[in-house]
C-alpha cells in the first residue's frame, strides 16, 4: 500500500512538473497551452467522455501487462499483440458485414436465425452502415438482444484470439524450452506488426478510402455508443468489469496467490508444489489475449476498422501504467486515467496551442524511468543513517 502511494505520488509529481516545464520551454502562448493541457480535457462533457473511451484500450493493455508482471514474465510484445488483435477483430467485423446480408437473403442454408421476411430485412439493415431503427424493431425482442450481444462479442473474442496468437510462440518457448519471453515476445510482436502492416496496406486495404485502413466493420459488430456526440461506448465498462474480475482472481483466489508467489520466486513455487508449468504458460497467453482485447476495443469502439499503425505506443504505455499501479488491479483504473489524461491533454494542447503532441510520449517515458525509484526522501534518510552508523 505504501509503495503504491509512493509510486502514484512520483507519477503525478513527474507528470505535472514535466508538463508545466515543457509548456514553459516550448510554448510561446503559455496561458493558452496550460489551459488546453490541464483544463480542456475536463472542460466539457464530450471531451471528458471521449477521454474515458480512449482510456478503455489502455486499461485493457495494462491488465495484460499486469498479469505478465505479476507472474514474473517481462512481456515486451504488447504492441504487436494489440495490433494483431485489432486486425483480427476488424477481420471478423468485415466478415460479418459480408455474411449478414447473405444470411438475411436466405442464401445460406440453415440460416435459422433469419426466420420471417421482416427479420431478414432487419438483418440486412443491421449489416449496413446505419441500422434503421424501424427495421430493428421488426425483430423479435429476444432475437434483437441476441444479435446485439453476439456480434460484438464475437469480434471481441476474435481480437483476443489475435493477441493470443502472437503470444503463443513465446508462451510455448517458455513452457517447453525455458526461453525467457523478454526477447521472444518482442521479436514475435515486431514480426506481427510488419505482417499486419502489409495486410492492412495491401491485400485487405479498403481502396475506396484515402486512409490506409481496412473496410469498415459491420455496424452490428460495433460496441453500442452511450452518449453521442462523444465517442463513448461500453468499452470502458467492459474494461472495468475485466479489471474487477482480475482483482478477484489476483487478490481473492488461490490461483491468483499461486501466480503472484510464482512471479516473486519461482524456486519457492516449485518447492511448494505449485503447477509451475501451467504458470509458465497461461499467464503469458492471458497477457496476449488482454492486449488483443484492447485492439478490439479500438476497432469496435472509436475507429470502426483497423487502421495502419493504430497501436500507437499503447503497449508501451501499458507497462508504465502497470508499474504506477505497482501491479495492483485495484489501482489500475486510476493509473490508466493519469496516462489517458496525459494523452488527451497533449492532444488538446497541440490543437489549441503550439505544443507538439509528442510531449505526452516524452513525459510517459520519464515517468517510466522514474517510477521504480526509491523516493528521494527515503534515499536521503538512508544515507544519513548510514553516515551515523559510521
Amino acid at each position: 500500500m505504501k509503495k503504491l502511494l509512493q509510486r502514484l505520488a512520483i507519477a503525478l509529481g513527474l507528470t505535472f512538473s514535466l508538463a508545466f516545464l515543457f509548456i514553459l520551454l516550448f510554448s510561446k502562448e503559455h496561458a493558452a497551452a496550460l489551459q488546453a493541457f490541464f483544463v480542456r480535457p475536463f472542460a466539457n462533457r464530450v471531451t471528458f467522455l471521449s477521454m474515458l473511451e480512449l482510456a478503455a484500450p489502455l486499461l485493457a493493455c495494462s491488465l495484460g501487462a499486469l498479469v505478465a508482471f505479476r507472474s514474473g514474465h517481462f512481456n515486451l510484445g504488447g504492441e504487436g499483440q494489440l495490433y494483431t488483435g485489432a486486425f483480427f477483430s476488424a477481420l471478423a467485423g468485415a466478415a460479418l458485414a459480408d455474411w449478414l446480408p447473405a444470411l438475411a437473403a436466405g442464401a445460406l442454408p440453415g440460416s435459422g436465425v433469419a426466420a420471417g421476411p421482416a427479420a431478414q430485412a432487419a438483418l440486412a439493415t443491421l449489416s449496413g452502415a446505419n441500422p434503421g431503427t424501424e427495421a430493428l424493431a421488426a425483430l423479435s425482442p429476444g432475437l434483437q438482444l441476441a444479435a446485439a450481444v453476439a456480434f460484438p462479442l464475437l469480434c471481441l473474442l476474435a481480437g483476443m484470439a489475435g493477441g493470443l496468437l502472437v503470444a503463443l510462440l513465446p508462451a510455448l518457448g517458455r513452457r517447453f524450452a525455458g526461453a525467457d519471453i523478454l526477447l521472444t515476445s518482442f521479436l514475435l510482436s515486431q514480426a506481427a506488426i510488419l505482417i499486419v502492416d502489409n495486410l492492412i496496406g495491401g491485400a485487405l486495404r479498403d481502396t475506396a478510402n484515402n486512409l490506409v485502413a481496412m473496410v469498415p466493420i459491420s455496424a452490428a459488430a460495433r460496441l453500442p455508443r452511450l452518449a453521442r456526440p462523444s465517442v463513448l461506448t461500453i468499452a470502458p465498462f467492459i474494461a472495468l468489469a475485466v479489471c474487477a474480475a482480475l482483482w478477484l482472481f489476483m487478490e481473492r483466489s488461490r490461483s491468483g496467490r499461486m501466480l503472484t508467489l510464482y512471479g516473486k520466486n519461482r524456486s519457492f513455487a516449485r518447492l511448494m508444489g505449485y503447477p509451475v508449468r501451467k504458470l509458465a504458460f497461461y499467464p503469458i497467453l492471458a497477457a496476449g489475449a488482454l492486449h488483443g482485447l484492447a485492439g478490439a476495443f479500438l476497432v469496435q469502439g472509436i475507429n470502426g476498422t483497423a487502421i495502419r499503425g493504430m497501436s500507437g505506443g499503447l503497449g508501451w504505455s501499458a507497462i508504465g501504467v502497470a508499474l504506477i499501479a505497482s501491479n495492483k488491479p485495484a489501482a489500475l483504473p486510476l493509473a490508466t486515467l493519469l496516462f489517458a489524461w496525459l494523452d488527451a491533454g497533449a492532444r488538446q494542447a497541440s490543437v489549441w496551442a503550439d505544443i507538439p503532441a509528442d510531449i505526452s510520449l516524452v513525459i510517459k517515458a520519464v515517468v517510466i524511468i522514474g517510477i521504480t525509484a526509491r523516493p528521494l526522501w527515503q534515499s536521503l534518510r538512508g544515507k544519513r543513517f548510514a553516515g551515523e552508523q559510521l
Partner: protein
C-alpha cells in the same frame, strides 16, 4: 553469382551497424546488468550525428554522437544505482524517451518529423565496388579496441569478474559501482558507433532508423553465449540474415514487410531452439546426478 557478391558486399556495412552495439550489450551483460536501452542509444547517436554534423561537419557530429550516447548511458546507470530504480525498466523508459525527444528536436532544428537528408554527411566509400565506408571502418576499429580491452586488460578482467561474483570484486578492493559505470559508458560509446555507421551510410536521419537493431544486438549477446567470439559470430549471422532479407526484395515478389518480418521470426525460433538445447542438457545432467 552477382547476387551473392552483392550480398557479401553489403555484409561489412550491416556488421558495422550491429556488432558494436552487440559488444556494448555484452560488456554490460558481463557485469550482470544488461543495458537494454541499446535501441534508443543507437537512435540518439544517429540523430546527433546528423543534427550536429549538419552544423559543424561530420567529425564534430561523430564526436557529439559518441558523447551524447555515452552521457545518456552513464546518467541512466547513475540514476539506477543512486535511486535503486530497476535498470530494466529504466532502460525501457530510455528506449521510449529517445524517439519522442528526437521527434521534438527534429522539429525544432529541421522543421520536420520526417527524413532529414544532409548529403555532406554521407561517409565516402573506400572502394567504389565495395560498400565499405570510413564510418564502417571506425566501427570496426572500435570493435577491435573493445575486444582487446575485454580480453587483455584489467578493465576487461574486472568487468567479467563483476558478473561472476560481486562480492569477490568488492573483497579485491574494487568498487563494483565504478566497474558497472565504466561498462555502461563503454556500451553507450559502442552503440553510438552503430548509430553513426547507420546514419553515415545514407547521410540522412530517418525516423526509426535503428529498426530494431538494438534488440537484435541483445539477441546476439544471448545467442553468442555471452562470450566475445560468440557475440561477434552471432552479429555476423544476423547481418547476413538482415541483408539477405533486404536483398531478396529485388528478386522475389513477396512484399517487403513480409520479408522484413522473416528475420524476426527466425531469430525468435533460434532463441527458443537454443534455449531448448540448454534446457535438455540441464535435464540430462540432473538425471545423471
Amino acid at each position: 553469382m552477382s547476387g551473392w557478391w552483392f550480398l557479401l558486399a553489403e555484409l561489412p556495412a550491416g556488421l558495422a551497424a550491429l556488432a558494436p552495439a552487440a559488444l556494448g550489450g555484452l560488456l554490460t551483460e558481463q557485469t550482470g546488468y544488461l543495458n537494454i536501452a541499446l535501441e534508443g542509444l543507437i537512435m540518439a547517436a544517429a540523430f546527433t550525428y546528423i543534427a550536429v554534423g549538419s552544423l559543424f561537419g561530420p567529425l564534430a557530429g561523430m564526436a557529439a554522437a559518441l558523447l551524447v550516447s555515452a552521457f545518456l548511458a552513464y546518467t541512466t546507470d547513475l540514476w539506477c544505482r543512486r535511486s535503486g530504480a530497476d535498470s530494466f525498466v529504466a532502460g525501457l523508459g530510455l528506449n521510449l524517451l529517445i524517439p519522442g525527444l528526437v521527434s521534438l528536436l527534429s522539429q525544432a532544428q529541421f522543421g520536420t518529423k520526417g527524413i532529414v537528408a544532409v548529403q555532406t554527411l554521407q561517409s565516402p566509400r573506400l572502394l567504389a565496388a565495395l560498400n565499405l565506408r570510413y564510418s564502417d571502418l571506425a566501427a570496426f576499429a572500435a570493435i577491435a579496441l573493445v575486444a582487446f580491452l575485454l580480453t587483455q586488460t584489467r578493465f576487461g578482467l574486472r568487468t567479467r569478474a563483476l558478473g561472476m561474483s560481486a562480492d569477490a570484486v568488492r573483497m579485491a578492493g574494487i568498487r563494483p559501482e565504478s566497474v558497472r559505470r565504466n561498462a555502461y559508458i563503454a556500451s553507450g560509446v559502442l552503440a553510438a558507433f552503430s548509430g553513426i555507421a547507420l546514419a553515415a551510410s545514407i547521410g540522412a536521419w530517418v525516423p526509426n532508423i535503428s529498426a530494431g537493431r538494438g534488440w537484435i544486438a541483445l539477441v546476439a549477446v544471448y545467442l553468442g553465449g555471452r562470450r566475445l567470439g560468440g557475440v561477434l559470430l552471432a552479429s555476423l549471422g544476423f547481418s547476413f540474415l538482415l541483408s539477405a532479407a533486404n536483398r531478396a526484395q529485388s528478386y522475389l515478389t513477396v512484399p517487403a514487410e513480409i520479408l522484413a518480418a522473416i528475420p524476426y521470426i527466425l531469430t525468435a525460433l533460434v532463441v527458443v531452439g537454443g534455449s531448448w538445447l540448454r534446457y535438455r542438457k540441464a535435464a540430462k545432467k540432473q538425471a545423471q546426478d
